[in-house]
């Protein structure tokens, strides 16, 4: 198991180095950020002076070596636009993104799983197909539209919830739902097919023959055994949610990383983008590792296989 883990860790490091290099060069292909930092009236001399002070006048190779050296020392640099350490900027945004992703996963899970279960168990009834239609409809709504719709209804007309911003639990509700709707249908579909899969297996039939009640069958055997695909899809969904958060965060003025990414890319704040992409790579790789470990917790077969 530990050899396997070490191997995976080595692969992860190589992947992160690759991401670091790619993000460095791709960004520099897009051009020069200094034009965005000065007023239109700036002279060429002003632009040159600013470029010098940002270190952008250096040859690309020198910039790259400096960058790698800084990364090795875990110095992630200072934002061009805000003149603040990147780690400080990202750490101030990260908790918001975690809250939102958590909230959205919860929404997706709490709605998607029962829907999938209902569709598997009562698959012969037409009404359950309708349910999937509703869930798919909710997923297909673009968030910039459904988000604004929710803001208008619950924030402006009914005034139940604050229309935007952050700071309390009530602020988190609408963005979580808007983002959660995106993953809900995925969960429902995966849960449905996985449960159907399990239902056709022999142990279920023999359990029924033994006279196990439906409730017990579902609660004790079915759900647990069907969870593995759901967990692995969660790992994928988290990165999906982080991407979807870009729009949701912008609509709800939620100060997470998604919003920061868009702003930094637009402003060509290379240093901040590098930090975010690196963090994203780190999270994606770790989440996949964690999912691997979770499989073995849920399914003893994998655990045993790992030891051998």
């Amino acid at each position: 198991m530990s050899v396997f883990l070490l191997q995976r860790l080595g692969q992860a490091l190589v992947a992160i180095f690759g991401v670091m290099t790619l993000v460095f060069f791709i960004q520099r292909l897009t051009g020069d950020p200094t034009y965005l930092l000065v007023p239109e009236t700036a002279t060429q001399a002003d632009i040159d002076a600013l470029r010098r002070s940002l270190g952008l006048d250096q040859p690309l190779v020198v910039q790259y070596v400096n960058y790698l050296w800084d990364m090795l020392r875990l110095d992630f640099g200072t934002s061009y636009v805000q003149n603040v350490a990147v780690t400080e900027i990202i750490m101030s945004r990260l908790p918001y993104t975690l809250q939102l992703t958590g909230g959205a996963l919860l929404v997706a899970f709490v709605i998607g799983l029962p829907v999938g279960l209902a569709m598997a168990i009562w698959r012969r009834y037409r009404a359950t197909n309708l349910l999937m239609g509703v869930v798919l409809g909710a997923q297909s709504m673009p968030t910039f539209w459904s988000g604004i719709l929710m803001i208008m209804v619950f924030g402006v007309w009914l005034r139940w919830l604050p229309p935007s911003g952050s700071g309390s639990f009530s602020h988190l509700i609408m963005p979580s739902i808007a983002l959660g709707l995106l993953s809900m249908a995925t969960y429902a579909r995966i849960a449905r097919s996985s449960i159907l899969d399990e239902m056709s297996k022999d142990y279920i039939r023999s359990a029924r023959a033994r006279g196990v009640t439906t409730g017990r069958l579902v609660g004790k055997h079915l759900i647990r055994n069907s969870l593995i695909p759901v967990i692995s899809i969660s790992a994928l969904e988290i990165s999906q949610l982080l991407a979807g958060a870009v729009i949701v965060e912008t609509v709800f003025a939620w100060p997470g990383l998604g919003q920061l990414t868009v702003q930094s890319v637009q402003a060509r704040d290379f240093v901040v983008v590098q930090g975010i992409v690196l963090l994203g790579a780190f999270v994606t790789i770790s989440v996949n590792l964690v999912a691997d470990i979770l499989y073995s917790v849920v399914d003893p077969r994998i655990r045993k296989g790992g030891r051998a």
């Binding site: 034009y35 930092l37 009236t41 002076a49 003025a253």
Partner: protein, 504 residues
């Protein structure tokens, strides 16, 4: 029984969410806190280290400027109480003696000199350097007296000093700009209180302010990137003032019954530039035809809600030197077609119109359509803003053929807009006209205001006769505000809180 049970089942979550909502939305009884929705958070609160509205909307309340403009746009004393030009290049300013910074230290002539030296220091690399680098010397020349020396006669000096925020020497000189940005200390009507990164900046009232004190105990500036969300915040009462609305959203505010629209014509001039260095646009008649083909009234009335004002010179009424009686190209597609038919070399190939999503694409597409209507082939070339800026700032031979843009020098002086766009030495200019160059140079150092205004009027007439560049309209800026907020927005796009008031 069953019905009540069902009702109870529904009532509970509703009551719960209502409780949450009420605790989140209850306003204070008196108007203590003004909430302002900006687009983004400021990039920096060091007034010398950035250049964007979200920053100066905030810090202009924390810092005083050398001089200011009143609501009518006239330059008025602020930190400098009076000024006298003692030679073509030297101006003596008298500094207020009753101003203290927020830490209690008096503001002195030394601070003013330090401020000028800081912003003009090339190593400091202020993005605003180009606005102040004509000042080559600042020195204390008496009690509360500062003399500024400029590189040659510089009539726009006062217009630039409107934006010079005075920083305390004893603080700013002992820390880096990054440190000063974390804890900015000024002398303005509001004191920096906190910055919740990505969320909001809070400032509190300066009770010892020397001038008009602020009407609110504190002001929260929040970052709300989506304009529709800003309007929702306003309509829900979660924000009292929101910035940067488009005309559709302004309509929504006006019809919504909650909040009102405040608008002002800024000093931004929208223009259409044509690359006269390259064929086929090197033919003045083709450029004149384009002038006649663009229906500015349709753009302003049909697309922009009627807010902007059409202008026929590369200036706006908010600028010094605005001249009455200059007539531009009237909309006359027939004449445009005639002019094109009479061209020596008819334009065969597609002409590219460079743009970026920052600009109102409805206007860009409308112009494309109008030019197509008179028989030209125009394609739209969209790039991100940084690329667009880079493409624009080059030699005319490499510059885009057609450009729709808006220009502000944030100084309300013609030199700040006409020199960069018309002088052949400027990276932005597509014009190569020795006579215009000479007139621009003369106007740049002409200290007699009447003569100077006359020079700019002449340049504008010359530029029109050859259709060097087409002035379109003076752009409007639209704010949404709570009904109770009284405020007159100004052309220089500042939010001076101490000029606002609140009536219940």
């Amino acid at each position: 029984m069953k019905a009540t049970k069902r009702a109870a089942r529904f009532a509970l979550p509703i009551a719960l969410s209502l409780g949450v909502a009420i605790s989140a939305l209850t306003p204070a009884y008196a108007k203590d806190v003004l909430t302002v929705d900006l687009v983004n958070e400021p990039s920096s609160l060091d007034p010398h280290q950035q250049w964007n509205p979200d920053s100066y909307y905030i810090y202009r309340n924390i810092f005083d400027n050398m001089v200011t403009r009143n609501d009518a746009g006239d330059i008025e004393p602020q930190i400098a109480t009076e000024w006298k030009r003692i030679s073509d290049t030297e101006t003596v300013f008298t500094i207020r003696d009753d101003v203290t910074f927020h830490d209690g230290t008096p503001l002195t002539a030394e601070d003013v000199v330090y401020t000028v030296e800081r912003i003009t220091d090339t190593d400091f690399a202020s993005p605003q350097l180009g606005q102040f680098n004509k000042i080559i010397k600042a020195e204390v020349t008496g009690d509360n007296e500062v003399t500024l020396t400029t590189d040659g006669a510089y009539p726009a000096l006062l217009a630039q000093l409107v934006k010079l925020s005075i920083v305390p020497k004893h603080i700013a000189s002992t820390m880096t700009s990054a440190e000063f940005n974390e804890a900015p200390v000024g002398s303005g009507p509001y004191v920096f209180s906190s910055w919740d990164r990505g969320v909001s900046v809070t400032v509190t009232k300066n009770d010892n302010y020397w001038g008009d004190k602020g009407p609110f105990e504190s002001v929260v500036f929040r970052a709300v990137p989506d304009a529709a969300t800003r309007v929702a915040d306003l309509q829900a009462g979660a924000a009292d003032l929101v910035v940067t609305l488009n005309t559709d959203l302004a309509q929504q505010v006006e019809n919504g019954g909650q909040g009102k629209v405040l608008t002002v014509n800024t000093e931004r001039v929208a223009y259409f530039a044509m690359n006269s260095a390259l064929a086929p646009l090197d033919q003045p008649d083709l450029r004149r035809a384009i002038g006649h083909a663009i229906d500015r009234e349709a753009i302003v009335e049909g697309l922009l809600g009627g807010y902007p004002q059409i202008v026929d010179q590369m200036l706006s009424p908010a600028h010094f030197g605005w001249a009455e009686g200059i007539e531009g190209f009237d909309y006359d597609p027939e004449k445009a077609r005639e002019l094109i038919a009479g061209l020596e070399t008819a334009p065969e190939a597609e002409i590219e119109l460079a743009t970026s999503p920052v600009f109102d694409q409805r206007v860009v597409q409308a112009i494309q359509q109008m030019l197509t209507d008179v028989g030209l082939k125009v394609s739209i070339e969209t790039n991100d803003m940084a690329t667009w800026l880079k493409d624009q700032q080059t030699s005319p031979e490499q510059a885009p053929m057609l450009t729709f843009s808006r220009w502000s020098c944030a100084c309300q002086d013609p030199d700040g807009i006409m020199y960069p766009l018309l002088h052949s030495s400027s990276n932005w200019s597509r014009v190569k006209d020795g006579e215009i160059d000479a007139l621009l140079d003369a106007a740049r150092s002409e200290l007699d205001e009447a003569k100077r205004a006359e020079l700019y009027a002449r340049i504008n007439r010359m530029a029109l006769s050859d259709a060097d560049i087409l002035p379109l309209y003076q752009a409007a800026i639209i704010y949404g505000a709570a009904e109770n907020l009284d405020w007159q927005p100004t052309s220089n796009e500042s939010l001076f809180i101490n000029r606002m008031s609140w009536t219940e």
